[in-house]
């Protein structure tokens, strides 16, 4: 039995991950720790597990791995403590809010001999796996251009507080697509130009809530990406991940969550989309469980987290500088 703990329910994804752990026969949700006692207790009831208030006590439990779903800036201290306690780690994205933090996390895990993974569940979306297969098969020829979006609605709470989130929509919604493209094409990003703003929640938000990135990948592939919280409260769903690939032999359009029902309910008084596709989080958590059993890194490793953090950090740099900038890759 693989014993898992969840650290903090600050990020909503924690609830889905907890649910997935309970679905996996060879895994057990042993305990929850949360600096918000109420929230942690509530969650422990919901998922029939223990709540441990003291962090050191939590880490001294016979837990094999932890899932870190805290506020972005708290990923680092929690990961470092967990690594030093010998735990395998699956960290919510973005891995960290700065390159230095990401490096420190990776190096600490290496030294401690524990696996470090980043929660990029999109790698487990069936339509994305299929798209990757098409691209790798060469059916589309050489890829020339790609247009992507990761739109969402404003998650609220600490996401709008730079001290906890490290940034706004660009911080939140760049890394998924950056990671997917690196993984699907096996190529790195070379440069980025970014424009951003916060007109979607003017006067409410200090962070950016709409970003438009133009990137170049190895081999001169031109990429545009919209990273935003531009979905209003009345929108039928949380957001999207879309990608259009232009190849010399063909094109591929992907709307990763477009497996849905259109629901018109008088109870909701707004149109809703009911998703019926495969649950990507289950694949993510299963891989984490397997990585512990096999004593390896999870599928999206620390370095993948770092590379996508670099894209984000240099996007903000570009906006500040008002020009396209090179994405420098740190060695680790």
């Amino acid at each position: 039995m693989v014993k898992l703990g969840i650290m903090s329910f600050a990020h909503l994804h924690a609830y889905s991950y907890a649910h997935c752990v309970n679905l996996i026969p060879e895994a057990e949700l042993t305990a929850i720790w949360d600096d918000d006692k109420e929230r942690g207790k509530e969650a422990s009831k919901q998922y029939q597990t223990n709540f441990v208030e003291d962090l050191d006590k939590f880490l001294s439990l016979p837990i094999d791995g932890v899932i870190i779903t805290s506020e972005n800036v708290n990923h680092k201290p929690m990961a470092i403590k967990s690594a030093e306690a010998g735990k395998w780690i699956l960290c919510e994205k973005p891995l960290a809010t700065t390159i230095e933090d990401a490096m420190l996390m990776i190096n600490t895990c290496k030294k401690a001999g524990v696996g470090l993974g980043v929660a990029f569940p999109c790698r487990f979306l069936t339509p994305i796996l299929k798209a990757k297969e098409y691209i790798r098969s060469g059916k589309l020829g050489t890829i020339l251009s790609i247009s992507c979006t990761n739109n969402g609605s404003y998650p609220g709470g600490w996401f709008g507080d730079v001290k906890l989130s490290g940034g706004g929509a660009v911080m939140d919604h760049t890394v998924h697509v950056a990671d997917l493209l690196r993984w699907m094409l096996d190529k790195e990003f070379d440069s980025v130009y970014c424009e951003l703003g916060n007109q979607m929640h003017k006067g409410i938000l200090e962070t950016d809530d709409m970003g438009c990135l133009q990137l170049e990948m190895e081999g001169g592939i031109q990429v545009s990406h919209i990273a935003s919280w531009n979905r209003p409260k009345s929108f039928p769903t949380w957001g999207d991940v879309t990608m259009e690939f232009i190849g010399t032999k063909g094109v591929l359009y992907l709307d990763a969550f477009n497996q849905k029902l259109n629901i018109y309910s008088d109870f909701a008084m707004k149109t809703e989309w009911g998703f019926w596709g495969d649950n990507p989080d289950l694949g993510l958590i299963q891989d984490f469980v397997n990585s512990i059993q096999e004593k390896r890194d999870p599928m999206s490793k620390g370095i993948d987290g770092l590379r996508s953090v670099e894209v984000t950090v240099f996007a903000y740099e570009s906006y500040k500088a008002g020009k396209k900038v090179k994405i420098k890759k740190s060695k680790c």
Partner: protein, 324 residues
């Protein structure tokens, strides 16, 4: 009033039809391809004239409609201004900013009424989007995504495929969206563009343009001549209190014919309206001539549009943003 058509290709034929619908008479037409010219002449009971200069010089011609490849607009505009004609010119006004400026100077001096076919301003769906924005339905607009295009221009020898002539999808096609953005949101501050021109993929082109408006509104405009089939227009407008979305594939009609010789016919989506946007732009032009009512598009707008898309091409070349 009598119309002379220069260039009897896709747009020339369309404009002849629109002019006639507006009660004008097409009297002459010209094309280097005499078959195209003669076909149009026959359909509209007009006279085919080999040299376009003869159409422009003809005293019976009141309105000159220019629908030739873009680099030919300049000499044709130049002569039509000299001859004191009313002019309908397809977008882009000219291939370069310098040419546009010269034309405008001359047209101003000669008090010529020069209309440029930025027809997207007249499309029903774009008018509807404009109305909804004005009504405040989605709050204050902050972000817009626009998408336009489909197959590369057809015909092996099409002038469109020579990007030095057409300017590729950015200059020829996205000028519509960029003009519309400026029409709705005001002047452009900065553009950043990536396209396939420098990569020698012709006839394929695919362009991504970030547009930052002076008022802070941000837009991403995508244009494609890289799809194997179809023609797509999508617009998404995001505001502080809502979002609206248009997709030209959502239509009231879908026709699919069972052709005996072929395995399957393609689905042709249609969205019919009583008055086409092309007719609306002609009516606007004519009411300017007849009643002096300023049209929705001025020649200065046309110049600005060329300035912005030229800045896009420069940005793609230097791989840095370009300020306007």
């Amino acid at each position: 009033m009598n119309v002379g058509i220069l260039g009897c290709g896709t747009m020339g034929r369309l404009h002849a039809e629109m002019a006639e619908k507006c009660g004008l008479k097409v009297v002459q037409c010209s094309d280097v391809n005499s078959q195209s010219g003669k076909d149009l002449a026959k359909n509209f009971k007009a006279k085919f004239v080999k040299n376009w200069e003869d159409v422009v010089a003809n005293k019976e011609v009141d309105i000159v409609a220019i629908a030739t490849p873009t680099p030919l607009h300049f000499p044709m505009l130049d002569m039509a201004i000299k001859k004191g004609k009313y002019i309908f010119c397809e977008k882009p006004l000219c291939r370069t900013v310098e040419e546009c400026k010269k034309v405008i100077q001359k047209a101003e001096k000669a008090k010529i009424k020069l209309f440029v076919g930025h027809v997207v301003r007249y499309f029903h769906e774009f008018e509807a989007i404009h109305e909804q924005i004005k009504s405040g339905k989605i709050g204050e607009v902050g972000f817009i995504k626009m998408y336009r295009g489909g197959m590369p221009p057809q015909g092996k020898n099409s002038w469109f495929r020579d990007f030095s002539k057409s300017g590729g999808v950015t200059f020829d096609c996205m000028i519509h969206d960029i003009d519309w953005l400026r029409y709705i949101f005001g002047e452009v501050k900065t553009v950043y563009c990536q396209n396939l021109i420098e990569k020698n993929c012709a006839p394929l082109d695919y362009s991504q343009v970030t547009v930052r408006m002076k008022n802070g509104v941000l837009a991403l405009v995508i244009g494609t001549w890289a799809h194997p089939s179809g023609f797509r227009v999508k617009v998404e407008v995001c505001g502080s209190d809502g979002l609206m979305y248009y997709d030209n594939m959502e239509t009231p009609l879908e026709v699919q014919l069972r052709e005996q010789s072929k395995v399957s016919g393609t689905i042709v989506p249609e969205s019919p309206v009583i008055k086409s946007p092309y007719q609306k732009e002609w009516e606007d032009f004519i009411s300017w001539i007849k009643d002096g009512k300023e049209p929705r598009v001025s020649m200065y707008d046309a110049l600005k549009a060329v300035e912005i898309v030229s800045a896009c091409l420069r940005s793609a070349k230097i791989k840095q943003p370009v300020n306007l």
